[in-house]
Structures are given as structure tokens and as C-alpha cells.
């Protein structure tokens, strides 16, 4: 059970949007995290470095701006479930060309038909999975 936190949600969301907007306006790139992360598996080319820098920003933001106590404690299920979920997230975002950031924010904002459909599909699927898990 978590509480509804409208102010921090809106404020945090605005920062996410600002980071993504800066990357587009200044670097000319879409802030799709699955795409950025997966391309890091390639051999370093000139475009490899901005991706690494963006990922480094994501990773170090908590260390620079927050206390360890600001981080949630994960009470996750079995290791196997985590591994299966990670695999599905990796495969799914690769095949489907994006995740919550690339499709859900950047693509939806551009009114991309593909991104709107993808977002509706992964949201609905995740809602069904959460509902089913509660039944089991």
C-alpha cells in the first residue's frame, strides 16, 4: 500500500520531462532509456559516449542529490521472479523499440501512433499481471 503523493509526483515528473527535453533540444536525441542502455552493448562509437554519459547521470543522481534514506527498500519476491522480469523487460523493450520513457513520454508527447499504442498495450498488460498476481 502506498499513499497518493500528487505534489512530488508532478514535480518529479516535470524534472523527468525537463531532462528528456534537454536531451532532445541540445543533443537531438530521444530519452528512451531501454534504447540508450541496450546500445551500450555495442562497440564504442562516437554515439556511445553520450549514451554512457546519460546513463551515468541516471545512476549518480541519487548519490549527488539525495540521501541513502531517500531510496526505497526493495521487498521483492524471489530471485527467479526478478530474473524473469528483467529478461522480459529487456527482450520486450528491444523488440518493441521502447519502454515507459521512450514510448510513454517522448513518443506520446510527439503523438506518435506507435508509441500511443505501445503505451496502452504495456500499461494494460501490466495492470492485468498485477491483478492476476493478487489472485495467485
Amino acid at each position: 500500500m502506498t499513499e497518493f503523493t500528487p505534489i512530488s509526483a508532478l514535480l518529479g515528473g516535470a524534472l523527468i520531462g525537463l531532462g528528456a527535453a534537454c536531451l532532445l533540444l541540445i543533443n537531438g536525441r530521444i530519452a528512451g532509456i531501454s534504447g540508450i542502455a541496450s546500445q551500450l552493448l555495442r562497440k564504442p562509437n562516437p554515439d556511445w559516449w553520450w549514451r554512457l554519459a546519460f546513463a551515468a547521470g541516471l545512476i549518480t543522481a541519487p548519490v549527488l542529490f539525495f540521501q541513502p534514506t531517500d531510496m526505497p527498500e526493495l521487498s521483492l519476491h524471489s530471485n527467479w521472479l526478478v530474473i524473469v522480469a528483467g529478461l522480459l523487460v529487456g527482450i520486450g523493450t528491444k523488440i518493441g523499440s521502447g519502454c515507459t520513457s521512450g514510448h510513454g513520454i517522448c513518443g506520446m508527447a510527439r503523438l506518435s501512433k506507435r508509441s500511443i499504442v505501445a503505451t496502452l498495450v504495456f500499461m494494460t498488460t501490466a495492470i492485468v499481471v498485477v491483478a492476476l498476481q493478487k489472485l495467485v
Binding site: 509526483a9 549518480t60 523499440s97
Partner: protein
């Protein structure tokens, strides 16, 4: 090159700070949002609203008027429009993984600094997935979008 690396770093820092403040990095909160038939926590709808409220005008009012980015000749904006099986199957698989534990790629990276074992397992598995997907696609005679 150096400037564009610094700007990507700054963008990543803003994005990551947003993930922490918004609660997106808390899997419990994500599950609480997806649990619309239970004790629903609508916060993440507002995270998306906040992000879209900044990104949408930035795109339509600033970026769309330009043919280049500030530090790059090119604006790399996807132009595909077809809704194909790959998009749908990919979104379903992602949705299942996201619903199972409440972690998606951005929060996974930002959670690294909390040094908790499940994060590392998740990220390792996610990268194996990134690596596997093109292999499977080519087995089925399809290419995976880069």
C-alpha cells in the same frame, strides 16, 4: 563532443532526480499504480502528466521549429508509423515484466546506487534480454530495430 557529453550527463542527472522525487524508483509505488482494482495509488499518472506537461511544449514549440539540435546537426526523431506485430509483442512482454516486479529500465539504473541485490539481478537479466532479442528476431528472419 565534450559539450554534448556534458549535456547528456546533465540531462541524465535531471531525469534521475525526477525518478527519485516522483517515486518512480519505488516498485511498491509502481505496483500500487498498476493495482487499479485494489488500493489504487494514482501518483504515477501525475508523474506522466508532469513529464508530458514539460516535454510536449518543448517538442512542439521549440524542437519542431528547428532542423538541428543545439549541439548536433541532426535531430534523431523516430519516423516509423506502422503498428506491427513486433511492436505489440514487445509491448506485451515488457508489460508482463514490468507488472511482475514494478521496475522498468530507467528506475533500474537509478536504483543501482542503493546497492540492493535484486537491482543487480534485474539489470543483468535485462541486458541478457537486450542481447537475446536480436538473436531470436534474426532466427525468425526479422531484423530488430536499432
Amino acid at each position: 563532443m565534450l559539450l554534448s557529453i556534458l549535456s547528456a550527463l546533465a540531462s541524465g542527472l535531471l531525469f534521475g532526480a525526477g525518478l527519485v522525487i516522483s517515486g518512480m524508483i519505488n516498485p511498491q509505488k509502481v505496483i500500487g499504480f498498476l493495482d487499479i482494482f485494489g488500493h489504487w495509488d494514482p501518483s504515477l499518472a501525475l508523474v506522466m502528466t508532469g513529464a508530458l506537461a514539460v516535454y510536449t511544449p518543448a517538442y512542439w514549440l521549440l524542437v519542431r521549429q528547428r532542423t538541428n539540435a543545439v549541439l548536433s546537426e541532426q535531430l534523431h526523431i523516430p519516423n516509423r508509423t506502422e503498428i506491427d506485430c513486433q511492436l505489440l509483442i514487445g509491448a506485451i512482454l515488457f508489460g508482463v515484466g514490468w507488472g511482475l516486479v514494478g521496475i522498468c529500465p530507467g528506475p533500474a539504473l537509478t536504483l543501482i546506487s542503493s546497492l540492493q541485490q535484486p537491482v543487480f539481478l534485474f539489470i543483468a537479466a535485462m541486458f541478457v534480454g537486450f542481447w537475446l532479442a536480436p538473436k531470436w528476431m534474426s532466427l525468425m528472419g526479422k531484423s530488430v530495430p536499432s
